[in-house]
Amino acid sequence: MIRPKLQTVKTHENGDGVASKAPPMVVRDLSKSYGSIEVISGLNMHVDPGEIICIVGPSGVGKTTLLRSLSGLMPPTSGSVSVGGKVITQPLEEIGIVFQDYRGSLMPWMRTLENVAFPLQGRGIGKAEREQRAQECLDTVGLSDAGQKYPWELSGGMQQRVAIARALAYDAHILLMDEPFGSLDAQTRLGLEDLVLDLRSRLKISVIVVTHDIDEAVYLADRVVVLAGKPASVVDNVDVDLGMNRDQIKTKSDPRFVEYRNRVLSEIMRVRD
């Protein structure tokens, strides 16, 4: 429904045969130091088109640092991030970001619709077209009626959906989310988890979610990437084979879900000791 033009973009096939317009992302030997302190060392990972990857790890391990490197906001100290075969050196139009602190990333002087449309203005898209696209993306995240409200008039969960809509309006084929639901109540959080699954299956985008919450990681992910160590690197890749259609109650009581969760948890515990 959104972005009809994009249907013509060449698509990529991933292992499950999902036709996705997202380019593959490959991280090679990525290291990042702040001054003399190395936070990430020799990290390798890849994101196939249409995949949901969850990155888990203890607080302070370097998850935000990794995500900022993936987004092109921060150059790695060494190694590379490539998208569709090209090494990125700056933020790309294919990548949309939803920040950890949604309150701080929406502009309080713009109404919701303007906030969502603003990145399109930067691309020189006319007012009518960008507002129409913004409205479509607000519809997609279930906020059809919030366009004329200011962000601070919305609840936390609604603000986070606005941030997601903004990334979608931008044409993001790869969505990066940094602890997107960390500060929300449980019910809102579950709703937004399902929204992410739904967006992936409708829009065929790739999603990379950083989270503290292991249940959330296993519920969302096709693959959970466990980060640990100082400096951090990938200590485990857990393929979560729970299919495309997940349900908060059924999936989470599936014995395989419990098994995956225990595996991720024990991996984190093992490295912490």
Partner: protein
Amino acid sequence: MTADSNRKRLWRASPGLSLIQAWWLPIICILAWWFLSAGSKSFYFPSLETILAVLWRDLTEGPLLSYMWISLANMAAGLVISIVLGVAFGLLIGEFGQLRDALMPMLNFLRSVPPAAIVPLVIVALGTDAAPKIFIIALTCFWPILLNTIDGVRGMTPQLRDTASAFKIPYSLYFRRVLLMAALPQIMAGIRIAVAVALVLMVIGEFFGASEGLGFYINENKQRFAMTETWAGTVLIGFLGYLLSAIFVKIEAFALSWYFQSENAND
């Protein structure tokens, strides 16, 4: 927060009450002045009644009204120049650390020169028409606006900067729609200071080498020992100051309505 908004609704519901709230002190002062000075025979302290009578006479029959417009026009020109330059340089200096490091020592030095001290110099350099008066107002008002704008930019949440770069917002748009707006509350605080300063400098600037304007009117009458006229000019300036700050509060409330409301929402 609900108690607060209830109180606000109450005030809005009764405009008479809020008028009294805003005006009681000036009204009491004016009444006290009026009655205490009534029938005064003092040469230096004429009664308020005679002051107002002279003020009215010079406004309607004398040159005072045209002087007032001349002075206000100079002040407006000086303020506009200082706002444009102060905000533009403030945004640039606030945003670019290297620019800040290069310029701040020099700016701090220049800022410490007291404006009144350069008035005679500027008149020598720029002559006695409007230019030096506008220059002095613009130069002095430039500082509070510049420094407040820099602070406003520095105080912007870093997520907004990240958001702008992640979504590749071009600089022109970023400066207008992100930086400027984020700094606007601070900028308005700077302009508020500038308006008060501009009024003072408007008067001082016309004490020297002027042949028209409110400062000229006061100074000339003082030299003729026409105390009532001197008082009338002073009262008029006091009134203008009050009016300007009232107008400014309205403009600020309009320009920053999103800010005041969001501050309330976050409490």
